[in-house]
Subunit: 221 residues, 2 copies
């Protein structure tokens, strides 16, 4: 049995969940209050972060190495293109979303509004929220620019890059922080990825104290 | 011709330099004052970071995707093991050093002491320096624990994980921030990697205003 220790709105956990679901690998989800630094959990992952995946007799951390492992071990349906140049582009965009988008946007919006409350760190810092709201516009424009040239973010086939981006955007959409009016191209891309069966579980998530907006799970948003 | 836009003490740039040198790929180095946000440079890399690598007709950013590309395109000598489980472990440790070690140690020591001065951001914050000096001990102990079970960090063959770790440690060693007395095992590992021909160019680096200590380039430190 595959078991994932996660928190529902973490984009890094969502990326792993989406990739597992796309590969039709069933997973048991265990919510992990990682900020409480439970010794059992720290034994599983000395970095003290989620996701942690138990699979094939291994206990794995770090979402991108986990996704690369799943892709190598369960190559169908493919989420990485065959040639090195195109694979580079997928990995570059995964890093773009997990590093830059995460730092510019996710940490300023989701972590300020949700994580701080859940972990008892206090109220959102409005300067950070403002910075995040400004930065997401730049990122949506960048996505629109990419999608004007390609069917999916990294090329003409769906890839890990799309799931990495969709993991961040879906978490932000849960707290109504994505302005879907900014780009029809990006909205169309999200509608396509949102309607995949792999997305269903993510759309069914609910976090106590943070009810999702009505459009969150609506495929026709 | 391969061209790398870099700064000498950046561990991410060093990782790419080490991997290129290990593969015997010649590279022209161009120092890039990325913090001045030169429009030409931002055109090359909208994330505004180094390293940026021009190679095979592509302009690439993000050090790990770059290294994966080089590994796929120039597989000899191998810096990735053949099976998915071992490859996962390499990628996990690359992330460990580039995310956790970087955040806990490199940004608290190197960026406080060197980058702030070079970029005109002011003086080191002594709380950060103290936190970095404390954290590096934990990381050296973790490396010693890994190296007690394996010849190299991720297994019995040298890999990207070793170059990622050595890139961070060599930059910190340049400012005398590594206590080599803490673990003979880690010191032996660094002596082995430091004596490889691929390391020569990194040991010859000098940064104006920051002369390296005598032991920095000494193979018998």
């Amino acid at each position: 049995m595959i078991r994932l220790f996660h928190v529902p709105l973490s984009p890094f956990c969502r990326k792993v969940r989406l990739v597992l679901a796309e590969k039709k690998l069933e997973v048991e989800l265990v919510e992990e209050r990682y900020w409480e630094k439970d010794p059992d959990f720290l034994r599983r992952n000395p970095a003290g972060k989620v996701p942690v995946l138990r699979m094939d007799g291994m206990t794995m951390s770090e979402s991108t190495p986990i996704c690369e492992y799943i892709e190598e071990k369960y190559p169908e349906p493919a989420l990485m293109p065959p040639n090195p140049e195109a694979r580079y582009e997928v990995r570059r965009l995964v890093s773009w979303f997990d590093d830059k988008f995460h730092q510019d946007v996710t940490s300023n919006l989701l972590y300020e509004r949700v994580n701080k409350k859940i972990t008892g760190e206090g109220y959102p810092d409005s300067r950070n929220v403002k910075a995040g709201a400004k930065a997401i516009r730049f990122h949506i424009d960048y996505m629109a620019w990419l999608l004007d040239q390609r069917r999916w973010l990294a090329g003409d086939a769906i890839s890990l890059a799309d799931f990495s981006a969709a993991a961040h955007l879906s978490s932000l959409d849960y707290i109504s922080d994505v302005d879907w009016h900014r780009s029809q191209t990006v909205k169309d891309w999200y509608a396509k990825i949102k309607s995949r069966p792999a997305f269903r579980a993510v759309l069914a998530d609910t976090v106590p104290g943070f009810p999702p907006p009505a459009h969150y799970a609506d495929l026709d948003f």
